[in-house]
Symmetry: none
Subunit: 138 residues, 4 copies
DNA sequence: GTGGTCTAGACCACA
DNA sequence: GTGGTCTAGACCACG
């Protein structure tokens, strides 16, 4: 099941470990991984993605640092219960910055306002916010 | 006037030249810089930001490579007329990827669906899509 | 093996990095380098050509910007899979401009129509268009 | 009449003076300018193109250096009788290099062999080789 | 004065 | 080991 979720593109400019972090966070954000779910072991995932185990370990460490996962000695790495660490103004500031960068890029790509609104609505359907109902997505 | 637009944070993880590229693109996308406007000269901006001129030059070269600006030897660097080179499916693909990453982050930040919609609408007001009315923003 | 492909003429008016870019693109276009092939490392090639590593890096960055190569941090620079990003009218416009300039030069060089046709046919045999058979040229 | 022939694009990466040189050579190659025809004066052309007269003078000097034009004191600059200065092997070598570069670019642009042949034939119709009939093109 | 190229050498991040 | 960033400083070409 994880093989369909955690993918990585070696040709991307984004570092492999960062791609992994993003993939796990996205899986959590979309409900494909839920609190308590176990992530594959470092060695397992390294073999599956044909990636250096150090790279996996680095990604897992970063995820734990962000509070997305917790690792329990001897049993593995698990999705953590959601906890919010940043203060609300800081949360919004980050979102705002990301949005500005994204929309600026969209303009330079030549997309129209309608294009952007449409894709935004689609993307919103793909994520599950905190209070959303909890049926796991296929 | 440019000193209020082109800023850079030396302590950021993002490379200086990339910050500059993003800043110029955003200024163009928001209408603060318009086609034909002249950017500060390499040396001028280098002095203003206390950055090495080569770093500015690298940013300007990247901008020209993306078609955002044109550099005229002997006279300076100018905002280019907008031209779209990518094909539409590719444009949308990039937007979609950016949106997924952003919304996934938003979820992990602990923001609600309403928060995101609100910030999105605000951000949309700050950019000027092709065909928008052309009054320059203050 | 690369020493026979990537050459540079320091006395030429063309910038060194641009010569390198052209050499790599030609090697790809003629099938001497194929998607997935690894280019020499920056330092390696710098030593071989007795050129500053920064100059090589600049060429590689330009190639990546054009989508000819992909650079993977920690592992090297590789020939990218071919992907076309420009729109067809733009593609043709560029070709047309190049042809006009070239033929105009040919006339001024004193060459005949037959000379040009003959050299054109020869040159066409040296490149491999998309979809051509894939045997690597010696 | 020259206003329709000698055009220049300030946004191009090619230096203005080089664009002028190319434009004159192309006009000669296509028969729009013939041996003996007078070019506009430096000041005249500078005014017409709103370009620095030094730039025009530089282009005219380069053209004279290449033997494309001759300047007669007090009367102006004229298209020279065609004379070939390079040796034939050198001529062909230059053409070959230009063709290789052009076709390599065409491949990277994503054009097909048929596209290139078609555009080549079109471009050949636009130039007038040495022995061609001499009716001036409109 | 403008941008562009190149060198030299330091330092960082990724795998 | 790989590529990427940044600085410092020299030199060139264009207008």
């Amino acid at each position: 099941m994880t093989q369909s979720i955690l993918r990585v593109d070696p040709s991307s400019a984004e570092p492999l470990f960062a791609q992994l972090v993003a993939a796990v966070k996205r899986a959590v954000a979309t409900g494909k991984l839920r609190p308590g779910d176990k992530l594959p072991s470092v060695r397992e995932l390294a073999a599956e993605l044909t990636i250096n185990p150090n790279t996996i370990a680095k990604a897992y460490a970063a995820l734990e640092g962000e509070g997305v996962t917790v690792s329990r000695h001897g049993s593995g790495t698990f999705v953590a219960d959601r906890r919010v660490t940043l203060r609300r103004p800081e949360q919004k500031r980050r979102l705002r910055e990301g949005l500005d960068a994204l929309l600026s890029d969209a303009v330079h790509l030549g997309l129209s306002e309608d294009d952007v609104r449409e894709e935004f609505d689609d993307a919103m359907k793909r994520v599950r916010f905190e209070g959303d109902a909890e049926e796991r997505k296929p």
